[in-house]
């Protein structure tokens, strides 16, 4: 992408791409950034879905909604261009998982067996990574529906940055053909050899039974037996999602803030996305503090003005406020200095042809549509390019 400015690079993304995946650590404004991208794309005439998996309901907050379930909500935009629509959806992991099983199961009996299995309940609700897996599942689903020109995916905050990319694979492994076959073999063999388990797998299996308890293994075996029917469907979809991530119509956007933990995560994503040949487009660097870099003396610069404005206030008000302003400015400067190395690190990562859009800390935290529009105005300062 050869855009003149970073902002133009970002504008090109929301104009041309079909999927934008926002990744990054927690607390860097990922959700609000995703919402602002969606908002702007819709205003510029695209049909957009912002998909979030946020347990803290931040997107709902930012979009001025109380909350929304798994269903898609349309958000009214009075100033959207012709054809532009903004939709939002908050993912319900359990419902998405149930839905998937429902569709992939060949018959009612399999469905009942799976829904009634205790392992399934724990795995679908609680499994490390099932949120991430279901987010990609849902993404694939809405992508295939063809109802949207652009889907912006807000990924969950992750413990280890890898989880988002790895988790779908990890869960897919859980229903891996081989592991399922291996686990079912002793049970199939039971019928042939009576209660005698044979081979290494038999020995190991007995030990696992001893450690985890026979009941657990029985339940697990029941789970696998029922799941066997769905396996091909699962694997096909997992492969399709993986292809979709690598597609040039997709873009990854790393969202970060100028502090050590978030920049570490950003740099980790930068490396991982490159190593996996996934289409990294650029960085959004949020919450950057700015100030005049130099000594300022409030008593010198503001004494007369403050005195004139403070005639009706107690005598010490002006000098005391001016002293506070000095302190505040010093403090702000030191914060700006502290952030400098992290801003530099992000810019260094971007030298390889990615853009960095940096966003100064907004005066107010984003808690409604107005805040979202402020952010969107910072991200997209230029009017949309005229249609060719």
């Amino acid at each position: 992408m050869s855009a003149a400015t970073p902002q133009a690079g970002l504008a090109e993304l929301i104009r041309l791409r079909g999927i934008i995946v926002c990744v990054g650590s927690g607390g860097v404004g990922k959700t609000t950034t995703a919402a602002a991208l969606g908002l702007e794309a819709a205003r510029r005439g695209r049909r957009v879905l912002v998909l979030t998996i946020d347990p803290a309901r931040r997107l709902a907050n930012a979009l001025g909604l109380q909350s929304f379930g798994n269903e898609v909500r349309r958000i009214e935009l009075p100033d959207a261009a012709e054809g532009g629509e903004l939709h939002a959806c908050m993912l319900d992991t359990q419902a998405t998982f149930d839905d998937l099983v429902h569709r992939l199961a060949p018959d009612d009996e399999t469905r009942r067996a799976i829904f009634g299995n205790r392992i399934y309940r724990v795995v679908s609700d609680n499994f490390a990574g099932s949120q991430e897996y279901m987010a990609t599942e849902r993404l694939y689903d809405v992508h295939c529906s063809g109802e949207y020109d652009l889907i912006v995916l807000d990924t969950p905050p992750v413990k280890n940055a890898l989880d988002f990319i790895e988790a779908p694979g990890r869960l897919a492994r859980f229903v891996d053909r081989q592991i399922v076959k291996w686990f079912l073999t002793p049970y199939d063999e039971k019928r042939v050899f009576g209660r005698v388990l044979v081979g290494t797998s038999g020995v190991v299996f007995r030990l696992l039974g001893m450690i985890f308890g026979r009941e657990f293994l029985d339940e697990l075996s029941g789970f696998f037996q029922a799941f066997r029917e769905l396996m091909d469907g699962f694997h096909d979809r997992h492969a399709a999602v993986t292809r979709l991530f690598a597609d040039p119509g997709t873009a990854f956007l790393v969202v970060t803030a100028p502090n050590e933990p978030s920049v570490d995560v950003a740099s980790f994503f930068h490396d991982e996305l490159r190593a996996r040949n996934l289409p990294l487009a650029g960085f959004v660097l949020n919450q950057v503090h700015r100030c005049h870099d130099g000594e300022l003396s409030a008593p010198e610069l503001l004494r007369e003005r403050a005195a004139a404005l403070a005639v009706d206030l107690p005598a010490h008000t002006a000098p005391s406020l001016l002293a506070r302003l000095d302190v505040a400015h010093k403090r702000l400067r030191s914060v700006v200095h502290e952030e400098r190395p992290f801003v530099d690190r992000v810019n260094a990562m971007a030298s390889a042809g990615y853009f960095v859009v940096d966003v100064p800390l907004l005066d107010r935290p984003i808690r409604d549509m107005r805040g979202l529009r402020d952010l969107s105005a910072r991200l997209f300062p230029d009017p949309p390019a005229a249609a060719p």
Partner: protein
């Protein structure tokens, strides 16, 4: 305020969690150092962190075996595979068999994906560390994961009616229910962070009511210093200089007013966060002042440690004086 600090510093198992970026690791390390300073033998544990955050404070990466960083403080990273190996070794005394089990690719996949197996072996390791140390401070992963961590011991137990997994889970529950096991939450004066902190507190209480959560630390808070008169003068100055309008004159005067606004905004956010955390949870609140300023990670930890000790001293004087 913070009469619970004495109890926290004399607890045996102390979990620290919070939303990412709130300063969990700083707080955990500050607690560990403060307790070590009181003469206790302390181990600070990270849980299977692939990118250990303690490396920011010590220039090496802690491994499974605790390493002493000062006479009474050791640090460790509870890597799950080593924890599993150790745990299996207790039930399968023959090393060769443990290796046979763990050497099997299918078993590794199975253990990797089986709900609860990570948490169970991690907790087993924590209990083992408790035999060698007076206090184990656990720097838990960010709040969402902390909830899943504890849910294993209350929710998944029904899957394992018997066997060593079940026994370890039962032992863990007993340990969690003791009043010398406690959890501290870490928050920032930002609306979203406060939301998540309150939600985490609610969920943990529902998931594991046995766990004591006496304290939330509001990091990077700013105590109000501007009087109402100073506030109104600041607003007048801002208006006079055209702040917020498009015709605002750029210049050093406006820079000063902007800095004042920035600080006032943080003061206000701190007040709001304090109020919500006090109204919506029953945790005691400790506000840690803005740590920005000079110095790196080490300075932050020392300042946090000093704050904990100071607040503890203040609360014990108050209690003694009653």
């Amino acid at each position: 305020m913070s009469s619970c600090l004495g109890r926290l510093l004399s607890s045996r198992l102390l979990f620290v969690t919070g939303k990412g970026g709130t300063g969990k690791t700083t707080l955990a390390l500050a607690f560990a150092r403060a307790a070590a300073g009181q003469g206790r033998r302390v181990c600070l544990a990270e849980v299977d962190n692939q990118r250990p955050s303690l490396t920011e404070y010590y220039d090496f990466q802690p491994g499974f075996q605790p390493v002493a960083v000062s006479p009474r403080l050791a640090i460790t990273n509870i890597t799950w595979f080593e924890a599993l190996e150790e745990w299996l070794g207790r039930f399968v005394p023959v090393q060769r068999v443990v290796r046979l089990i763990l050497g099997n690719r299918m078993v590794r996949l199975f253990l990797d994906v089986t709900p609860g197996s990570r948490e169970v072996v991690t907790f087993a390791r924590l209990m083992q560390l408790l035999e060698a140390y007076d206090l184990v401070v656990v720097d838990l992963p960010a709040s969402g994961h902390a909830i899943s961590f504890f849910r294993v011991f209350s929710g998944a137990a029904s899957l394992f009616p018997a066997g060593p997994v079940r026994r370890t889970m039962d032992e863990a529950l007993l340990r969690i229910a003791r009043d010398d096991t406690q959890l501290v939450l870490c928050a920032l004066p930002e609306e979203m962070v406060v939301n998540e902190t309150i939600e985490t507190w609610q969920k943990l209480r529902a998931v594991i009511p046995e766990l004591a959560m006496p304290l939330v630390v509001l990091n990077q808070g700013m105590q109000p210093v501007l009087t109402p008169h100073e506030h109104s003068l600041l607003e007048r100055l801002a208006q006079d200089l055209g702040h917020g309008s498009h015709q605002a004159q750029q210049g050093p005067e406006l820079e000063l007013v902007r800095a004042g606004h920035w600080e006032a905004e943080r003061e206000q956010a701190t007040g709001l966060a304090e109020q919500r955390l006090q109204d919506e949870t029953d945790m005691e609140l400790l506000v840690a002042p803005l740590m920005g300023a000079t110095g790196g990670a080490g300075t932050r930890v020392r300042r946090m440690e000093a704050l904990l000790l100071r607040s503890w001293a203040r609360s014990s004087i108050r209690q003694g004086g009653l």
